[in-house]
């Protein structure tokens, strides 16, 4: 057989095409997902109803969607800086966990105290934890030329084990019936609901703020330009005097800091204590969010919401349709594949050729 398919670069890509690409990719992935649900012997129509309609129409679920989108938005905004600069931080999950551990550590250390300073201190600690953890792969790359892909990923496993050690060992709640979990945080250490009877907290506002700042940085600042230049044309960026190593460190610190902040918000606003598995793989899902949003801040904001809808839908589908969460995991990978294929078709035209290559 011969490859008689060729990619021909497109001269210009219209705005409509750019906007529609991720939408079409999502639809294609949903279509394939529907076929798989059907193959598993469930009704695809019912699955779409649970995955897409219910989270968007039920006011309670809608709040959960916004809560779920908060960490995704924060982490993916940070990752955009890395991916735009062609630096591959795939260990955001680990930085997210470290943020939770640092932030949660402050909550545990100040347990029983009250004061408006506790939450800001936890946030700072969380961001710092994520930054420190992200600095490791960045420095290993800068100093020793070690691929950041493998080191950042390896550190995810280490972070999971560290969390496990803490909640089973020194930080275990003495009154917790031997469950691997820390003491429940007091009100002073928990992000409070924005309105009476609701669950939505200030973390969502912080995520929106991060989106806004990222838009400004990419549109208006020299640093934003340096990041893009370093990713698209590293040699040219070097000649322009942008320090390659500093960019590596800074984009890692930004993404680590935002992932860490997200981790702190998750344990303080959602979980209310430290326990294993609070990461839920959100650090990996955020990678998909970043690509679905075409590595733009606005795109990341919108796709955080879309993915959050699917995740909330997945939670209720587990109960109501007995569809395993692994189906959602598979779907997320599939979605990233269709998004990447869409990106490629955005840049190139597929042309069938008769002669063998």
């Amino acid at each position: 057989m011969s490859f008689n398919l060729a990619l021909v670069p497109r001269r210009d890509v219209s705005l409509i095409r750019q906007v529609l690409t991720p939408v079409v990719a999502l639809l294609v992935a949903l279509l394939i997902g529907g076929v798989i649900v059907w193959l598993m012997g469930r009704s695809p129509a019912k699955a779409f109803d649970v995955f897409l309609r219910e989270p968007l129409t039920d006011p309670w679920a809608l709040q959960e969607v916004l809560l779920k989108s908060t960490p995704l938005m924060l982490i993916s905004i940070g990752l955009i800086f890395c991916f735009r600069a062609n630096r591959w931080n795939i260990g955001a999950e680990g930085q997210f966990l470290l943020g939770g551990i640092f932030g949660g550590g402050v909550a545990i250390a100040t347990h029983g105290l009250t004061g408006p300073w506790i939450l800001p201190l936890m946030m700072l600690a969380g961001a710092l934890g994520g930054m420190l953890y992200a600095a490791i792969p960045a420095m290993l790359r800068n100093r020793f030329g070690i691929s950041e892909i493998l080191t950042s990923l390896m550190l995810v496993y280490v972070a999971e084990l560290l969390l496990d050690y803490l909640v089973r060992g020194p930080w275990r709640d003495p009154k917790g019936f031997n469950f691997p979990q820390s003491v429940p945080f007091t009100d002073a250490a928990q992000l409070q609901p924005l309105f009476e009877g609701g669950r939505l907290h200030a973390g969502f506002a912080l995520a929106l703020l991060a989106v806004l700042v990222a838009i400004l940085v990419f549109r208006r600042s020299l640093f934003g330009f340096a990041v893009r230049a370093s990713g698209e044309a590293p040699r040219a960026a070097n000649f322009a005097g942008f320090n390659e190593q500093r960019i590596t460190l800074v984009v890692f610190l930004i993404s680590g800091g935002l992932a860490g902040l997200a981790g702190m918000i998750e344990v303080s606003g959602q979980v209310g204590q430290l326990r294993p598995g609070f990461g839920q793989g959100l650090g990996f899902t955020a990678i998909i969010v970043a690509f679905l949003g075409r590595l733009s801040p606005v795109g990341a904001m919108l796709s955080s919401l879309v993915i959050a809808v699917l995740l909330i839908g997945a939670e209720s589908a587990q109960v109501s349709l007995k569809l395993p969460f692994d189906l959602t995991r598979f779907f997320m990978g599939l979605l990233l594949i269709t998004v990447l294929a869409g990106e490629s078709l955005n840049r190139y035209r597929l042309e069938f050729r008769k002669e063998a290559a």
């Binding site: 050690y165 995991r329 990447l340």
Partner: protein
């Protein structure tokens, strides 16, 4: 001394899946393609292999099915990377995420089912040698297959015409294309071979190493295999050395946990991951980078005509 053959045998068993997966990825990367989906292909191989073995009641068939499942997943990767010229890092990552979910779906009904061991192969005469004989010349057939694969990959890459073409394509796809080499076709073979071996490594995990299926059981071994390829720097012998070293660390870590030496078990479990980073660091400090990565590793290939 009594324990030595036993310990050596467990080291080989722990190292074999790493070795097999790393050999496959080594070939893929020599052809200039970085497939970060090893973890995903491995776990799909583990789930499919186990499911097929239970359904057909044949572990040998399971191992073949696992290998083929890994290859099937790598075919998706090949389609994306070769036809659509997508970013290899992101595509590989997608493959891993997809694979973890798919493996969970495939293995759903098989969690906790035990599986009998495959009877070991004893090489006549050689297995009678004291200590080493029992460790090296008595083992499961995949272990011996892995020894054959080492030779096959080393010979294939360095001593055959196809190996030469494969390395040429990896070193500079532009030049190879200009010379009229079928870049994509050679890369397709390399990617499928990598997938086949990753799937085989996964099936080894669920059918020989642990002999049960549990979700997430590959536990980062695919990523460690990727690190081994970097560690090897283009030399198959260093890849083999690295794999057995890691097998040794895994076993030592398990013995230390059982022996309760006062360190928290989580710290010991973290050792393989920390050692991976340490190994890459050592490689960099010692300056022994070897041949390094293939020249056009990870770059999308879009011929102009």
């Amino acid at each position: 001394m009594e324990m030595l053959p036993f310990i050596l045998a467990t080291v080989f068993t722990a190292a074999t899946p790493l070795l097999i997966a790393a050999l496959g990825e080594h070939v893929t990367e020599r052809a200039g393609v970085l497939n970060l989906g090893v973890e995903g292909m491995m776990i799909v191989g583990a789930a499919t292999g186990f499911a097929a073995a239970v359904l057909t009641d044949s572990s040998v068939f399971g191992i073949i099915a696992g290998a083929l499942a890994g290859m099937a997943l790598s075919a998706v990767f090949a389609l994306m990377v070769l036809v659509f010229a997508t970013n290899q890092v992101a595509t590989g990552l997608a493959l891993t995420i997809m694979g973890l979910g798919l493996a969970g779906l495939i293995g759903q009904g098989f969690v906790g089912q035990p599986r009998a061991a495959i009877p070991p192969v004893q090489i006549p005469l050689l297995s009678e040698i004291p200590v080493l004989g029992k460790a090296i010349f008595t083992g499961d057939f995949v272990f011996f297959l892995s020894l054959g694969l080492i030779a096959f990959v080393a010979w294939g890459l360095n001593r055959t015409r196809f190996g030469l073409l494969l390395r040429a394509v990896g070193e500079s796809h532009g030049s190879a294309h200009a010379l009229g080499l079928p870049v994509k076709r050679i890369r397709l073979v390399a990617i499928l071979f990598g997938g086949l071996l990753a799937g085989l490594a996964g099936a080894y995990l669920s059918l020989i190493y642990t002999r049960f299926w549990s979700p997430g059981m590959s536990a980062g071994r695919g990523w460690i295999a990727l690190a081994l390829v970097v560690f090897a720097g283009g030399h198959v012998w260093r890849l083999v050395l690295g794999a057995y070293l890691f097998g040794g660390i895994t076993v030592a870590q398990l013995h230390a946990q059982a022996g309760a030496i006062g360190l928290p078990s989580q710290f010991l479990s973290a050792l393989p991951y920390l050692m991976t980073i340490a190994a890459l660091l050592f490689l960099s400090i010692s300056g022994r980078k070897g041949a390094g990565a293939a020249g056009s590793l990870g770059q999308p290939f879009v011929p102009e005509r």
